[in-house]
Symmetry: none
Subunit: 225 residues, 4 copies
Amino acid sequence: MTQKKPRFKDKETRIAEIQKAARRVFFEKGYQASTIDQVAREAGVAKGTVYFYFDNKDDLYISLMIPTVKDLIDRLRPVEQDLDAGRIPDGPELIGRLMDGLYEWAQADPDGFRIATTFQQGGLFSRMSGETLERLNEVGREGFGRFRRVLSKGRTSGFFNAPEADIVLSDIMWSAFLGIMQFEENKKRVTGKDHVRSTLDSAVRLIARSACPGAGEFPAPKEEV
Amino acid sequence: MTQKKPRFKDKETRIAEIQKAARRVFFEKGYQASTIDQVAREAGVAKGTVYFYFDNKDDLYISLMIPTVKDLIDRLRPVEQDLDAGRIPDGPELIGRLMDGLYEWAQADPDGFRIATTFQQGGLFSRMSGETLERLNEVGREGFGRFRRVLSKGRTSGFFNAPEADIVLSDIMWSAFLGIMQFEENKKRVTGKDHVRSTLDSAVRLIARSACPGAGEFPAPKEEV
Amino acid sequence: MTQKKPRFKDKETRIAEIQKAARRVFFEKGYQASTIDQVAREAGVAKGTVYFYFDNKDDLYISLMIPTVKDLIDRLRPVEQDLDAGRIPDGPELIGRLMDGLYEWAQADPDGFRIATTFQQGGLFSRMSGETLERLNEVGREGFGRFRRVLSKGRTSGFFNAPEADIVLSDIMWSAFLGIMQFEENKKRVTGKDHVRSTLDSAVRLIARSACPGAGEFPAPKEEV
Amino acid sequence: MTQKKPRFKDKETRIAEIQKAARRVFFEKGYQASTIDQVAREAGVAKGTVYFYFDNKDDLYISLMIPTVKDLIDRLRPVEQDLDAGRIPDGPELIGRLMDGLYEWAQADPDGFRIATTFQQGGLFSRMSGETLERLNEVGREGFGRFRRVLSKGRTSGFFNAPEADIVLSDIMWSAFLGIMQFEENKKRVTGKDHVRSTLDSAVRLIARSACPGAGEFPAPKEEV
DNA sequence: TATGAATGAGGCTTCATTCAT
DNA sequence: GATGAATGAAGCCTCATTCAT
């Protein structure tokens, strides 16, 4: 029997299309400045269709975070597996692999990354229901929790100087990552020069040298603005 | 003599009142979600009065950043003076002093800090005029420039391992500071526990140990969530 | 079968309704003093509906002129056809027919006439965009151009004394028409007496006698205010 | 006794200054689009001062018409005197003199002319009180009445074909004048070419030839747009 | 007299959301 | 399922007018 072209696309496809469009729009304009109309137009559907699949603007926004966080977890999994299999020799390597994971995650889906990362800005909280916020935090914790767990395993392997350092270390790594992404993105917009990758590398070496036994020198910098 | 309630307050006072109210409102809701009406009500004046002193919402917002950035510069000045006077013995001390300055700055005026720091979020860019953005970046550069200069002087004094490290170092310190403030604030909102100060301290030691000749061990962490 | 009240009217109908309401409101109050709210209420729709069909107040205003100018052209067409077919014997007849066309035009849609005719008053220019003004002038020229062309053909037929008189003649006729409409309307509002038609007739005879070979006497006036 | 420089300018001067500024502003922007602030700034006084001398915006606007109408009367007076003294030989001369008077009047104070002439546009009526409108009409009638009286005297002198023609004639002359001023001004704004004077001249000859016994040919036109 | 800070009603416009088709 | 016309609350901003100084 022939597979006839469906008059109505299947539900999943439709939803995915709308989310894809929403990601682009929300990323470019931010939550408040984005309109459902823009999302609908970008997705090639009518406004009502968006409301058919999503309860409201908040709901649509939040739905974007789930796959992004899932993607982060997917990127951390091989690191964890390699660590479990003994394929990661030392702390610097682990820190580098983790930071690479974060960076690639951000690169793979910049819109989603920014959305997942900065949703708390811009007064969204005041508009969102408590339930909505709860879901947001839950999903956010899941990604970060995985990140911390990997570092924790590294500590067990004796990769780090201080025995309990994994908690502080994860906070610092994560914060540094967020801060650098944000700060360098900002500089890039003004100066046009992109130092994200190199600054992240420097941070990795800096952290590694400090947190791991017998690590090397502080890296030589490159010329800059 | 009788203390009569003045109908017209001093111009400076009025402006300060409105700005104070605006800082609160913008901080709580973010730029887009804040309304001039809210600001006016909070300041106890009519909407028109806000527009009497500020051209528009953007203008009001920007006006908040100037004193905040000035305050940062004021807090960095004594560090620079002490450095010039030889009262700062080594790199770790300098890094600590700088991070303290940043932290105290953020504490002294949390609303202003967040406003100055996160204005780029939430799609404000797409709404603001080019001129407005220019002024914003200009003022922002001023504060960060001062910060970088102090580190640069420290490098000249041989405080840091790599001769040109001050550029990368300033980026990393600033990014770590921003990232930690943001990340820990966020965690605080969810968990209720405040680890901002201790995480910053850890970051300072971590950075110092890595960037300065002959620095100590990675710090022991505290229990956490 | 049941005549059910349609919730969504035909697009054209809706637009026509809004325009009709707008014509009334703009006519009565003038552009600046009219509000979109008044138009919406008069049209029996919500404010947003007006903006669904028209980009802004200017756009709505301009949209009113197109059909009015088209109507003028429609009224001039039979005159031109009769002239081409030799059914108009002389200059006075042509001038009379043209002035009749203008008068009937103004009578048929007084609101539209005034809007098309006086839009330049009241400081509208300073508020309208250059593009808006361009469209306005373009459409205005079209109507007047047709008027002038008919007079030009009359000149070719030897209807007028001076060979090139059609240019000046069209300006004078048009100006006289506008001036009389305006002046007499104004007087009517004050005195309550309507001399528009008779003054136009006088003007026709006056012009014809002067511009056409062998025309008659200046007309006897009627008693007046 | 020495005439000391007054700390406060005298009332008349102040009023005149404000009116002068108001004329410019109202002329350029139209009534609705003009603000008291603009007038005050242009006059170099504070907003409150304007309200000290004028009850409200309407009142200020109306006050501008009095001197303008007075000026018209002043310009018509010598014509009347010359006519009375027998220094005007015939109808064409009288018509020419009158039209010259109108034209010079409009030239001498374009702002005032436009204000006096088009105040009825732009929805002012709906905003003005009945009393205000009454004053306006009264003053307007005075100027036009003088104009008509002169024509009436010309009729008595046998200058015009039809014995009672002065009523219609005055309407037509006045209307033609208004229409031409308006229409040609409008064209001038679009084309940049100024045909006001020549079109008025043509109108004068056209009217004269028609209304006066033994007048000449219709004038040859000039090249145009 | 003169000032200009202060007010608040009102206008234009946007946009999340609904719902008949 | 999908559409898009319709709604109306809400936001930014203007400006005539008032009034304490």
